[in-house]
């Protein structure tokens, strides 16, 4: 099973039925799979904080939700994560492409990469880092953990995990 198949299958097996995405080149394959899956309502967002708002609404409407986005989005979603997702105690799996890590060809991406874990740490957001392909085996447990504790949880996925940029 490909990594993309495994991720979407774990989403579906954990009853995630509402997924919002803001694209990243590394995430193109998984976004295609989300879009193609009949069990998931895929709603592309124009900005990541908008997406987190949509996810909050879907959760309150009774559907488990998730967001797929790039790590640069941490910069634009801090207020939303703190005053919406955390303040109202809502679960939110965040599958995040970790741009600016090893094998990154675009220098500017390293600028946000060096802040990514520090910011997530400052926000007390449980953070997992997928570096090797087999790390995806933990996704199912991470999703169960997220819906157990009602918190936003970050899954950082770097270029090595995706098999290169």
């Amino acid at each position: 099973m490909s990594v993309n198949d495994k991720i979407v299958s774990d989403f579906v097996n954990n009853q995630i039925e509402f997924v919002t995405t803001v694209p990243c080149k590394q995430l193109a394959g998984v976004i295609d799979q989300v879009d193609a899956n009949d069990s998931i309502y895929h709603i592309p967002s124009n900005k990541e904080d908008e997406g987190i708002g949509l996810c909050a609404g879907a959760f309150m409407g009774g559907k488990r939700s998730a967001i797929i986005m790039q790590n640069t989005a941490i910069g634009v979603t801090i207020n939303t994560l703190v005053t919406l997702t955390q303040y109202y105690r809502m679960p939110l799996p965040m599958l995040i492409s970790y741009r600016g890590e090893l094998r990154e060809p675009v220098a500017c991406q390293a600028e946000m990469a060096v802040h990514t874990k520090a910011l997530l740490n400052q926000l007390n957001i449980p953070t997992y880092h997928f570096h090797k392909e087999e790390d995806v085996e933990e996704l199912d447990a991470i999703l169960k953990y997220t819906f157990m504790c009602n918190k936003p949880v970050a899954i950082l996925t770097d270029a090595s995990f995706w098999g290169g940029y």
Partner: protein, 187 residues
């Protein structure tokens, strides 16, 4: 009419509906006038009332009204194309357009100047966009509810505020009672 008077005029129509209400004074006014479990008050995160409301509407069958403001829609402008392209006929976006950032001291917004949110919403692809004057808000809202069509209402009103207490209710209580009422109605 100012926003608080518009909200008061809407109460007979929206009191029994699920409402996601914008941060600051709109939520405080609704809370003071008609607090109930069907109201979700935003205590933070300016701009996301429309997104949260659309998420609720897409996830289940009950009607959902987002009460938003012109300033907040400008803050989260990307919401209008998302709404237009994800049609939920149980969703109404009601924009109180008083041309100002009311909660922060009535600073003017661009919506009170050259920018028409009505035309922007139409250009984004929203199919049922109604612009109305404050005096007609209640009738237009009732018509939107009766139509069973996703509707964006831009309600032009005057700028101005009344004194209202802040909301001291715990956010988890607000969220929990909203979810329980929604689940009960869907049962």
């Amino acid at each position: 009419m100012i926003r608080s008077e518009v909200l008061k005029s809407l109460l007979p129509v929206i009191s029994d509906q699920f409402v996601v209400c914008n941060i600051g004074l709109p939520s405080q006014e609704l809370h003071m006038m008609d607090d109930q479990p069907t109201n979700f008050y935003m205590l933070g995160t300016m701009g996301l009332s429309s997104s949260i409301g659309l998420g609720v509407a897409l996830a289940q069958g009950q009607k959902v009204i987002s009460i938003d403001g012109d300033g907040s829609v400008l803050t989260n402008f990307g919401t209008l194309p998302t709404i237009a392209n994800n049609v939920a006929d149980n969703y109404i976006l009601f924009i109180v357009d008083n041309g100002s950032y009311g909660s922060t001291g009535d600073q003017p917004t661009y919506a009170g100047q050259k920018t028409s949110l009505t035309e922007v919403a139409r250009a984004c692809g929203c199919e049922n966009v109604v612009e109305c004057q404050a005096e007609d808000a209640s009738r237009v809202m009732q018509e939107a509810l009766d139509s069973d069509k996703m509707t964006v209402i831009v309600c032009k009103c005057e700028s101005g505020n009344i004194k209202v207490p802040v909301i001291t209710m715990d956010p988890v209580v607000i969220r929990d009672r909203f979810m329980k009422e929604l689940a009960a109605r869907n049962a």
